[in-house]
Amino acid sequence: MSKLSFTDARHLVTRTGLGAEWETIERFQQLTRQQAIAHLLQNRDNQLPRTPSMSPWSRTVSLMGNMRRKKMVKRISRVEGKKLQDWWVKHLVDTRSPFLERMTLFWHNHFPSSIQKTQQASMLHQQNLLFRKHAFGNFGEMLHRVAKDPAMLVYLDGYVSTKEEPNENFSRELLELFTLGLGNYSEADMREASRAFTGWGLDNRTGQFVNRAQDHDNDSKTFLGKRGNFKGEDIINILLKHPKTAETIATKMWHEFITLSPPKPAVIKQWAQVFRGSNYNISTLLSAVLNSPDFWAKHNRGALIKSPIDLTIGTLRTLPYSSAHTDLAHNLNIMGQAVFAHPSVKGWDGGTSWISTQSLLRRNSMMNNLTKGNLNEHKYKGRVAQQLPDIKPTHMRDWLLAIAPLQTPPKKPGKQRLARALVLDPAYQVN
């Protein structure tokens, strides 16, 4: 098989990483498709920046017990939540394994747990480590661990669910969003599942999962046509046997990697089969996705809308602009992608919902600010111009844009001027 062309290498780099990194594109042009995909799936560097200091759960519990101090919890969570956001955003800019970050973001968005509800940054940090560890691993194992993850137990009220009064929040979202999807179960199934999860709680001292047998509903339950004295683990195992679970993940992969347009049902069925056939090996599914004809199809180039992270972090990883005076996490928040603070349990909708008149204004302002500066390269030996690769304008266009620009390029010459014009073109918003 032949080596990757420049545009194919660019496509693979930008869809799996964060930005169109020039050096990676050059390197991938030495590889065939299979080699490049295998390289992406095998090589991961998980060196993380230093963990910010965060209060333990025991402190939150003791403060929450006191009405006067409840406000302190909110204040602490705001400060620590921001530190945690900065921690991840810094790593997104610096990482040598952008594919790992993309997949960690993918799972972070499949299993959201917002700081606004949990108010516990240390738990969200722990959850983030869980996603990185299993990002390319086994989905079944990840699902079991997420169900017992402290941040998730707080976020969806699982930790207050008992046999006398089971709380439905977790089991509803488990069925609707994490596995089967609406229409594949009944309200009765959801209620029975919530009974099976009763008794799962948190240790007040350590903030870790505990099973409180006295709070668990030991009676028989009927779930998706099966009857038994199910525990939470049994419910998850039944869900993992259901074909819709793999289809839900396959559909999300389609929208992450292929296009925002609706998926082809036959392709989803096929990917789901591969996924279940591998006992939910995420790398196997990713390999099927990245090797698929749909991934490489020319009509799917520029078929995704960049997320705020793709747009902002991607630009910083592609072009030599400085973000020294920019609060990146804050800017991502106002563009609609606040990490550790999803708008709802559905996570970010992505696709067309990234672009509203409100967010487009902010995205445009952000790109304006990043790329501003004196564009006259003769008078001003700009750092940016010197660091740009020495390429022709058409090549620059093919590097920075997935589809043809909508606006006419600037008449005046200059690489920096052209780069800015391309970044500000509406075509730069898609990939």
């Binding site: 009220d157 809308i305 509203s356 409100q358 445009n364 589809i403 509406p426």
Partner: protein
């Protein structure tokens, strides 16, 4: 205009933008100077507001039996009549009840209710049946019949959602507030919408819409705009309502504004969270009413709250309530006929999920707005309108 058709004339006169899609007709051109836009302000209560702790059935024994910990005690209720009363944190709105400008519709819901936040909100936004999937917001069936140009503005901190204003047929914008909007709009260029991929089609269409709306807002509010004239509470909803007031006062001609108050998904610790949400709601709306009254526009305004669903009749162990069905919706306005409409759901007849039966279909309210407020054909004629306006 012998040699020039109307479209050419408009283009010549500068009323059509580069893309030629939505012409920027001013309201004066359409209705003649001085005609006043009838406005609807939609207040989305996100998360599923508990209607039973909002409009409280304080004579219903089952209400107190079902909710031993979170019920509003009778002595705290602000009574509206012998049976129903307001949550005490909504005190700021009582003058509007006393002057007959506050209406409530009880038991609002739809058949075969869905208890998913997202799907149920889609149903409310699009006015669909449970088994029907519609792309466009319900206002698409009403607004284009009588209004060109700007159809609506949705405001929220972070990301505002168009919801009922979502449609390729509607010119609607989202923003945090006009000040933020104007500080960024001058950098936006008009573009000709592209169809190279569905993704760029969406981006370029939004950019074009933004340019059109930006022109009107910059003209009306660019230099020293008039202020709302009253103080608003500091929360997100207060800020959004203040912005709506300013846009109306400065002559922005949108027939619909949408604002959002979050935090009604009260699975646990409901009293704290919902009490605060209702306080924000009542105070924000009370300030908004004063501002509109001062500006002489209150008679042109109809405020309506809505939420994806209500909550379960019985409280849960966490001192909260799980997802429910029917809820009460609030309607305010200078021309509103105050009173309580619809029927309080029967607490003794709960379904298998422990939920009440709805008594009024939500589309009856939409139809009332279309027909009795805007004077248009009722697209939901199967549901009879309500006489609250």
């Amino acid at each position: 205009m012998s040699k020039m058709n109307r479209r050419d004339f408009l283009k010549y006169a500068g009323f059509i933008t580069a893309a030629g899609a939505a012409p920027l007709l001013t309201p004066e051109l359409l209705w003649g100077a001085g005609s006043r836009q009838r406005i609807v302000v939609l207040v989305e209560l996100k998360g599923g507001n508990d209607g039973f702790n909002t409009l409280v059935p304080f004579k219903d024994e089952l209400y107190y039996k079902y909710r031993p910990r979170i019920a509003i005690q009778q002595r705290q209720v602000l009574s509206l009549n012998d049976e129903m009363g307001l949550h005490p944190r909504m005190k700021a709105l009582m003058p509007l009840w006393n002057s007959g400008q506050m209406a409530w519709v009880q038991g609002v819901g739809y058949p075969h209710p869905i208890l998913s936040h997202f799907r149920s909100m889609d149903i409310w936004d699009s006015a669909s049946n449970t088994n029907q999937y519609l792309e466009d917001g319900w206002l698409t069936q009403v607004l284009p019949r009588f209004k060109q140009g700007l159809h609506g503005v949705a405001l929220n901190k972070g990301q505002a959602e168009l919801g009922p204003l979502q449609s390729p047929q509607l010119n609607a914008v989202t923003m945090q507030d006009p000040r933020n909007f104007l500080s960024q709009i001058r950098r936006i260029h008009d573009v000709t919408p592209s169809r190279a991929t569905p993704a760029i089609a969406h981006v370029s269409q939004i950019q074009h819409q933004l340019f059109s709306a930006g022109k009107q807002i910059a003209t009306k509010m660019g230099k020293s705009p008039k202020r709302a004239g009253v103080g608003f509470s500091k929360g997100v909803l207060g800020h959004s309502l203040e912005s709506v007031a300013e846009m109306i006062i400065n002559g922005i001609d949108a027939p619909v504004y949408k604002v959002t108050q979050d935090g009604f998904d009260t699975h646990s610790g409901q009293r704290g969270a919902q009490d605060n949400g209702l306080y924000q709601l009542a105070n924000g709306l009370a300030s908004f009413q004063k501002s509109m009254q001062h500006a002489g526009r209150w008679d042109d305004i109809l405020v309506m709250t809505y939420s994806e669903f209500g909550r379960r009749a019985k409280e849960n162990r966490g001192g909260g309530t799980d997802h429910g069905t029917a809820s009460s919706q609030l309607i305010l306005g200078g021309k509103v006929k105050g009173g309580i409409y619809g029927k309080h759901p029967d607490f003794s007849k709960l379904d298998a999920n422990g939920n009440v039966q709805h008594t009024t279909d939500f589309r009856a309210i939409y139809g009332t707005l279309a027909q009795r407020w805007w004077g248009q054909k009722n697209p939901w004629a199967g549901h009879s309108t309500l006489p609250f306006v």
